[in-house]
């Protein structure tokens, strides 16, 4: 036993020494990605390091963060000033709030580097994306705090329609569109009749469905886990606010639209059109993805990305699927800060880090290598020059959209030739919502937000999925929100919005020379 112990201990010692002794002439820069599924990166990193040695003057190491672990790891690395992590993924939609970190000085301002080394990068990215990554820092000034990824840069929520089943029932997609959310009862009833009692035709993500029906958008900076605020768009023209309310942020749950939506959902729920499992946070997503996988639904909700109908997940459902958009694709603050990479202020090699990011986001060879792997190992090219993935891809699947400029990637066989060009054109057409760039700084009302989030977590999902009766529960919910300080929260959000719009208008006036 003693011999065994000493063997193990000395082994551990040797291992840790080996890790420490990896010094080389070139500095090592480390990047932490989100959502990866990578178990073997040796071949890729070898090629990457060969490629960037001269261009960047550094060696790359990657921490392949997974969906579940990234937030914790990133927070830790930033909070502890871990100099081992030079660059990390950041965004504005999950716990890793880009704007908060930038404001608190966790990120390195990149303006100078951008001027010095960023010519290619500027050429490769739309100006709007660089703007979206330019936010307030600890000094109160605006700086570029991240290299923004060029991906699906507009939001478009769609109804995900099982056209095969719809045809069997004797309806068309046009009927679905014409009848609208409030008139689908008859189609659902027919589906229930044909497919039996255990079939649930309406497969929704309740919170998304609410936004789709009421044409409201997410306010960046609002509570992340349960949105509390709404801003209503004009569905016919997403560059305008809804005429009824104007440029104002509303309590999501206190509008007539919300009341009407929950009332209709309750009706659908009671009629058995919605799976009760969707109303439970823990089972909601599993249930939804299972039903989607097997095509056992009639109408669902789907946040859409261009080309999604040709993706393997949709094709493998074994049904014909069509995505019916609610509005034109629109650009809001949240989506414009959807996937970025920032340089940690604890980094000892910010210059090399930026050079690497600039190269990654402007050089197709490097982006393809890091994203799709090594040609001949992880993918091969067919006769048309389209990418066909091999089995080795299973051990090397980074999150494509989390890495940066995906428009540099070659087309894959599944997507078809010309896909990336069409993709770029599609998102270039995305229209800016009136409050693009507005970021709600929730710091002055963070106590209220915490209390309100707790209240909303209790009611919101159940109401939006129709599991409880809005007649009795909605008033209780609104009362609880008021008690938790909704008025103060809302007032702060609107005061900030007014200030933001005034400043934006002043800038516009100055620009137009008025």
């Amino acid at each position: 036993m003693k011999r065994f112990l000493s063997l193990i201990l000395s082994l551990a010692l040797i291992l840790s020494l080996c890790a420490a002794a990896q010094a080389d002439d070139l500095p090592t820069i480390t990047i932490m990605f989100h959502g990866s599924n990578v178990s073997d990166d040796a071949a890729v990193l070898e090629k990457v390091n060969e490629y960037i040695a001269d261009k960047v003057g550094a060696k790359l190491e990657v921490i392949w963060g997974t969906w579940g672990d990234f937030d914790e790891k990133a927070t830790n690395a930033l909070a502890t000033g871990d100099s081992e992590v030079d660059m990390l993924f950041t965004c504005s939609w999950s716990a890793d709030e880009f704007n908060t970190y930038a404001k608190n000085g966790f990120f390195e301002p990149l303006d100078e580097y951008m001027d010095q080394f960023g010519a290619d990068l500027k050429a490769a990215l739309p100006e709007a994306l660089i703007q979206a990554a330019t936010v307030e820092g600890p000094d109160g000034e605006k700086h570029i705090y991240a290299v923004n990824g060029f991906k699906d840069t507009a939001t478009q929520n769609t109804w995900d329609i099982n056209v095969t089943l719809l045809g069997e029932l004797g309806y068309t997609v046009e009927d679905v569109q014409k009848l609208g959310f409030y008139g689908w009862g008859e189609i659902f009833a027919k589906a229930k009749e044909v497919k039996g009692d255990s079939f649930y035709p309406f497969l929704i993500e309740p919170a998304v469905a609410e936004r789709m029906v009421t044409n409201s958008i997410i306010i960046t900076g609002d509570s992340g886990s349960v949105n509390l605020l709404s801003y209503y768009l004009d569905p016919a023209d997403v560059t305008k606010a809804d005429a009824k309310y104007g440029d104002v942020i509303l309590n999501k749950f206190a509008t007539d639209e919300f009341a009407a939506f929950t009332k209709q959902m309750r009706e659908y729920y009671l009629a058995g059109y919605i799976d009760p499992a969707l109303a439970v946070a823990e089972t909601s997503n599993d249930t939804r993805s299972n039903a989607q996988k097997t095509g056992s639904y009639l109408i669902g909700t789907q946040s859409y990305a261009y080309g999604y109908e040709y993706s393997a997940e949709v094709l493998s459902r074994g049904i014909e699927v069509q995505f019916l958009p609610c509005t034109d694709p629109y650009v809001d603050t949240t989506v414009s800060q959807g996937a970025m990479v920032a340089v940690s202020s604890a980094s000892q090699h910010p210059e090399e880090s930026f050079k690497f990011l600039a190269l990654l986001n402007s050089d197709p060879a490097l982006m393809t290598l890091l994203n799709y792997g090594v040609e001949g190992v992880h993918y091969t090219l067919d006769d048309d020059g389209l990418v066909v993935f091999t089995d080795a891809r299973a051990s090397y699947s980074p999150w494509t959209n989390g890495m940066g400029n995906v428009t540099l990637l070659p087309d894959t066989q599944a997507e078809g030739k010309g896909f990336r060009e069409a993709f770029k054109a599609y998102y270039a057409s995305g229209k800016a919502v009136p409050i693009l760039g507005y970021i709600f700084n929730n710091e002055p009302v963070s106590n209220e937000m915490a209390a309100l989030t707790n209240v909303a977590a209790q009611y919101s999902l159940a109401l939006c999925s129709g599991a409880v009766d809005p007649e009795t529960e909605l008033p209780k919910f609104l009362k609880a929100l008021d008690d938790a300080g909704m008025a103060a929260y809302l007032a702060e959000a609107n005061a900030q919005l007014d200030a933001y719009l005034a400043e934006a208008n002043a800038q516009l006036d100055a620009f137009l020379g008025r």
């Binding site: 112990l5 193990i8 082994l11 551990a12 291992l15 840790s16 890790a19 420490a20 932490m32 959502g35 599924n37 178990s39 190491e61 990657v62 921490i63 997974t66 969906w67 579940g68 672990d69 937030d71 914790e72 790891k73 830790n76 909070a79 502890t80 000033g81 871990d82 081992e84 939609w93 999950s94 699906d152 939001t155 255990s198 993500e205 919170a207 998304v208 886990s225 499992a277 946070a281 909601s284 997503n285 599993d286 939804r288 993805s289 299972n290 039903a291 989607q292 996988k293 097997t294 789907q302 946040s303 859409y304 990305a305 993706s311 393997a312 997940e313 949240t334 699947s397 999150w399 959209n401």
Partner: protein, 313 residues
């Protein structure tokens, strides 16, 4: 005759002092049986789910009587291949080394605290007890472990942070106090035993039940630990234990569920790559079986530990 009758009278009454009536007996059996069932049913359920076919779960969810059986999950776990077995081995290695070192430290720290003739007792008592009430918090702990101690991407990172537990020291010290009389130590000194001889030849055999109890607690702790891997293992995924492998799957699924509205199509794409429900349950079986097998071996000592204490009292 009268004496006989007297005896007859007395016998049932003394017996009834020590024995419960059949009704009460049945009641106890029933209650304890129910309790045992409550403990065992979830595990049986997990095993059943791990053998359930995916189709059945899709159609009727988890059930004790699935529509179809399947070995798919286990087949898939075996296809995980290297990663699975390496993680399994890591779990055993970390638990074995960690438990041995931790128990040794606990034993050696608690012993002087129990010796009334040790001058700095109260100081060292305070030193360990203080950390029990005032922890350093996550961030300082992380900085110390990673930057100062170099616990990052190595086995040590998964063992060292959990080596010392003030709670275990207190349990151990109390155990010393209740089961080792000072006279014994004095006697052995008179008989010419040195400090180490007294500790390992005289005291150690007496406190084996206590050590076994601590060892069980520590081993469970190490076996179930996954958070350390999350914190300290960034690049070297070859050394992660099985628990973390499972937790990672679970956390991925949770994250996607929470953020699916924000991630949109990406979430659907990622969810398609996630392992199935049955696979998760199969991994739970892999995790539970070894530790369940270890229990009976420790049980003897744990029961002995309980009775040793009560006899003295």
């Amino acid at each position: 005759m009268s004496t006989l009758a007297g005896k007859k009278k007395i016998r049932p009454s003394t017996a009834s002092l020590n024995r419960f009536g059949p009704g009460a007996q049945a009641g106890f059996h029933l209650a304890l049986g129910l309790f045992a069932l409550l403990c065992i049913i979830p595990f049986v359920f997990v095993v059943i789910i791990s053998f359930t076919s995916e189709d059945s779960i899709r159609q009727i969810g988890y059930s004790f009587q699935p529509l179809g059986w399947s070995l798919q999950a286990y087949r898939y776990t075996f296809q995980l291949g290297d990663q699975l077995w390496r993680s399994y081995l890591n779990s055993f290695l970390i638990t074995a080394v960690g438990t041995a070192l931790s128990v040794l430290m606990c034993f050696l720290y608690a012993y002087p605290l129990f010796r009334k003739d040790y001058g700095h007792r109260s100081f060292f008592n305070f030193l360990s007890f203080f950390t029990m009430i005032f922890g350093g918090g996550l961030v300082p702990t992380f900085v110390i472990c990673k930057s100062v101690l170099g616990l990052s991407d190595n086995y040590a990172a998964l063992i060292v942070p959990m080596l010392f537990s003030p709670f275990h020291v207190i349990v151990m010290r109390t155990f010393f106090q209740t089961s080792v009389p000072m006279e014994l130590i004095e006697a052995s000194r008179i008989d010419g035993s040195g400090e180490y001889g007294t500790l390992f030849r005289i005291v150690f055999p007496i406190v084996t039940p206590g050590i076994a109890t601590i060892a069980l607690l520590v081993a469970l702790g190490y076996w179930n630990e996954w958070f350390l891997s999350l914190l300290y293992i960034n690049k070297n995924m070859d050394i992660i234990p099985l628990q973390y492998l499972l937790m990672r799957m679970q956390r991925n699924a949770d994250f996607l569920a929470k953020n699916s509205a924000m991630l949109g199509a990406d979430a659907a794409r990622a969810a398609a790559q996630l392992p199935s429900q049955t696979l998760k349950m199969a991994l739970v079986v892999f995790i539970v079986v070894p530790i369940a097998c270890a229990y009976p071996f420790f049980q003897r000592y744990v029961v002995a530990g309980l009775t040793v204490g009560s006899v003295k009292g």
